[in-house]
């Protein structure tokens, strides 16, 4: 079997508790030089805790962290970094107002005497960005960059370290398809240089593509570890969830030809984001929205809902022209919107679970003072209906796992009892089991005669759930695919502007 002594980094019998609540139980993990090791598990399985322990951000309650076979007790992540163990965070940890190069060398600036050696830092920064095929300017401020560029900077920051172990927690969540491929090429190069890579992802397809070995955690326990080639994706899902995942996507509900149009957008223009987009949504249908990150899907939807300004265009609700000046107006028409930015826009992290649940529809709990008992009842009902798992009495949302946060957010927007539900990236950073629950929930919605708009960057999700798929590319709605037209290849071609409306202009641009 594998020996801890020829490993670069290993955890031995690691346990960890948070205020009396144990989240890791005797977990072993061995990382060898030059391997890509995938760490799998559902949300809340303890993956993030484990890697934070290995990277020196947390100390284990018991058990050892070993580097090259020697025991280490890190007091800070800086000590782990000087051992060559670097972690790229799921949540970007960059200083907004500093430039790219200042961020990359933050805390370890190259100096000449007492002064900063800016040219040396810029040169090394350029090198790292070039390796990532990124065209980010080192002098740009972080806040001027897109999320995917920020992610690239975070990765560049890691590889400018003298890195022996690179830990990546969901690195591709905010990346475009092309950037993902670049990242994978980089991972391959690092692996050849003997760097060990610990890779956390929920995208099993990615795992199959790059991982040498996999380790599966469930409920804080080590379930299995072995060669990646020994498992197929169904097997891995089963190990993660602990049960067989059958019918990931439920069969689509039938939409009758006569189903009325409930929402229609005509010629929507959002400055610098959307050019003359039109679409309609029929009752009981799931209308998918495909395209790469930044194609203007969110801008289009948010401009309809009154969250963004649009410079032209008309919206019709059940045939009647409407103007939503504020999201409240849309809510009054029973339209619910689930944002893609769960933590930044969806939930108040430092607030309790109940107030978060009722925030959107607080009116219903007031007569005129807030009725806390009814809030509690609503919360218990939501826990039941959306299967929110509370292992402990979490007092704030921040303490919930990503999947449970997403369910709570879903419960929150559903509290207005909507007729139209617009869901933006509902499964970003979410495990297989929760994904399946959300897919079935969408099916229940359409069964109940509600209509759904689904914005997603996950191709299989669009294909598996949508009756029709609208595809956008660089602000242009290039086409709406129906029935057998809906395939990965078609969506890709429309999303890259090779096919569909405005294809010629796209090519010229």
């Amino acid at each position: 079997m594998e020996s801890i002594h020829d490993s670069v980094l290993a955890g031995r019998r690691i346990c960890r508790s948070f205020s009396g609540n144990q989240v890791l139980f005797d977990v072993d993990l061995v990382l060898r030089a030059g391997e890509v090791h995938a760490l799998l598990g559902e949300n809340g399985a303890g993956k993030s805790t484990l890697v934070r322990i290995l990277a020196g951000y947390l100390s284990p309650s018991s058990g050892d962290v070993l580097v090259g076979g020697e025991q280490r007790q890190y007091r800070s992540s800086g000590e782990a970094e000087s051992d060559g163990i670097v972690m790229i965070h799921q949540e970007l940890a960059l200083a907004d107002q500093l430039s790219v190069e200042e961020n990359i060398f933050l805390g370890r600036e190259i100096r000449q005497g007492p002064f900063l050696d800016r040219s040396a830092m810029r040169a090394r920064c350029r090198e790292a960005l070039a390796a990532l095929e990124s065209d980010v300017d080192p002098r740009q401020r972080i806040k001027e960059l897109s999320t995917s560029d920020q992610q690239m900077v975070e990765i560049a920051k890691a590889i400018t370290h003298d890195v022996r172990v690179l830990i990546m927690d969901e690195p591709t969540a905010a990346l475009t398809e092309h950037e993902v491929q670049v990242l994978f090429a980089l991972i391959a190069r690092l692996r050849e240089r003997g760097v060990a890579i610990l890779y956390i992802s929920h995208k099993l397809r990615e795992i199959a593509q790059i991982a040498d070995r996999v380790t599966v955690l469930r409920d804080g326990r080590l379930i299995e570890t072995g060669l990646a080639s020994a498992y197929d994706t169904e097997e891995l899902s089963r190990l993660m969830v602990g049960r067989e995942i059958t019918e990931m996507y439920p069969a689509r509900a039938v939409v009758s030809e006569q189903a009325p149009v409930v929402l229609e957008a005509r010629d929507i223009v959002v400055p610098r984001a959307v050019h003359h987009a039109s679409f309609s949504l029929r009752q009981g249908e799931v209308l998918g929205f495909g395209g790469v990150v930044g194609a203007g899907r969110t801008a289009l939807i948010e401009s309809i809902l009154g969250l963004r300004r649009r410079s032209a265009g008309q919206v019709l609700h059940k045939g009647q022209p409407v103007i939503f000046r504020h999201l409240r107006d849309a809510v009054r028409h029973r339209i619910a919107y689930l944002t893609e930015d769960r933590k930044g826009k969806g939930l108040v992290l430092n607030m309790g679970l109940r107030p978060n649940l009722t925030l959107m529809n607080l009116r219903d709990y007031c007569h005129p003072l807030i009725d806390r008992r009814r809030e509690d009842q609503a919360f218990d009902a939501a826990v039941e209906r959306f299967d929110i798992r509370l292992r402990t009495q979490a007092s704030t949302v921040a303490e919930l796992s990503g999947g449970n946060q997403q369910k709570l957010l879903l419960a929150k927007v559903m509290s207005i009892d909507p007729e139209i539900v617009i869901i933006n990236e509902p499964t970003r950073g979410i495990d297989v089991g929760t994904k399946q629950e959300i897919y079935h929930f969408i099916r229940e919605l359409t069964d109940a005669g509600k209509s759904v708009i689904l914005i997603s960057s996950e191709m299989s999700e669009l294909i598996g759930l949508s009756h029709r798929v609208a595809v956008m590319c660089a602000g242009v709605l290039t086409g709406i695919l129906e029935e057998e037209q809906i395939s990965e290849q078609e969506i890709m071609q429309y999303a890259s502007g090779i096919k569909g409306v405005g294809a010629d202009e796209q090519r010229r641009a």
Binding site: F18, Y57, L58, L327, T339, L347, R363, I370
Partner: protein, 337 residues
């Protein structure tokens, strides 16, 4: 480079720190009161207590308003100048209508009405400029603070505006009289505090203040009219300033450029001592009330003793503010997951 989070955070310690966060201001108040009794038994005299509460009413009432503004992530630096300006206008107006209506209830009512209108208006201006203009509250209220201060100086022509003696005689009881043995200003303070408590903890408005102070984006995406709620907090602040001014004017019967100087900082100090988070998202009305009483109590205790010069009032207050917040922060840190 973050430090390793150590593991020893048993649930036991968690509850201790939470309790401290809730009860800290009250504990501090009791300790301070005990100190007062030790220094001079006269401290506990009914006259002294009533006097102290009456004095703390001004800052206290203003601070209750400030609790809403700060909880919703804002700040209002203009309250002291606003109070001076409102007091000045009230006096001019009441003196002006004196001939027509005589020194009676009508004249005083006109003054009180004007005060409320000015308070609502001034708060509305702060709110609307902050929200619609997308300017930081600090900058906007720094501006209005200068404006109101200079306006009152201008109205008083650099001197002092004095309320006509006849009107003052009618108006006097509002500050000096008692109801059921409790001075009127204390009743007003109590009324404002109870109303504030209910508003903050049991209404949509209060819940929205918490949400907006924690994360404005989330509030916006929860279909909350963020600008409206924020503006409303400034309007409430204005009303509180107006109420404080209404009970302040009969006390001295005058207003000048020196009226209400540094009240804004005392109000903010009271809010912070009470456990409201300065950057928003968490507010506590009773904490604020205790904070306001504590600030007055410090001055009162120093008055009763010769051990520390009365001129060092600010020093003691300053130390207490810093220590109070330090203790709260330490509690916050321990409470983190």
């Amino acid at each position: 480079m973050s430090n390793v989070v150590p593991e020893h955070k048993s649930s036991k310690r968690g509850t201790v720190s939470i309790d401290f966060k809730t009860w800290g201001p009250f504990v501090a108040l009791v300790v301070l009161a005990l100190l007062g009794v030790l220094i001079n038994p006269a401290f506990l005299g009914l006259d002294n207590l009533a006097n102290m509460l009456t004095r703390s009413a001004f800052i206290g009432i203003i601070a209750v308003g400030a609790t809403f503004v700060i909880t919703a992530g804002g700040l209002d630096l203009s309250v002291g100048s606003m109070a001076a300006f409102i007091a000045g206008v009230m006096i001019i107006l009441m003196n002006g209508v004196l001939e027509q209506f005589g020194p009676g209830l009508v004249t005083v009512s006109i003054g009180v009405g004007a005060s409320l209108i000015l308070g609502v208006g001034a708060g509305f201006i702060n709110g609307i400029v902050t929200t619609k203009g997308r300017i930081e509250a600090f900058i906007v209220t720094l501006g209005t603070m200068g404006i109101y201060r200079s306006l009152v100086t201008y109205l008083a022509d650099g001197g002092t505006l004095t309320l006509d003696w006849n009107v003052r005689d009618v108006y006097r009881p509002v500050y000096y009289d008692s109801l059921l043995g409790i001075p009127i200003p204390v009743w007003v303070f109590l009324f404002v505090a109870v109303t504030g408590y209910i508003l903050l903890n049991y209404t949509r408005f209060g819940r929205y203040c918490f949400a907006i102070g924690s994360n404005e984006k989330v509030a916006e995406y929860s279909a909350i009219h963020v600008d409206r709620v924020k503006t409303l907090t400034y309007v409430m602040q204005g009303v509180c300033v107006s109420l404080a001014t209404i009970i302040y004017v009969p006390r001295l019967g005058s207003a000048s450029a020196a009226t209400g100087v540094l009240w804004e900082l005392e109000a903010i100090a009271a809010v912070i001592i009470g456990g409201t988070v300065l950057k928003g998202g968490h507010g506590r009305i009773w904490g604020t009330v205790v904070g306001a009483i504590m600030l007055t109590m410090i001055g009162n205790i120093l008055n009763l003793t010769d051990a520390i010069s009365n001129y060092l009032n600010g020093t003691v207050q300053g130390i207490i503010i810093i220590v109070a917040v330090y203790l709260q922060r330490a509690a916050w840190r321990k409470g983190e997951p």
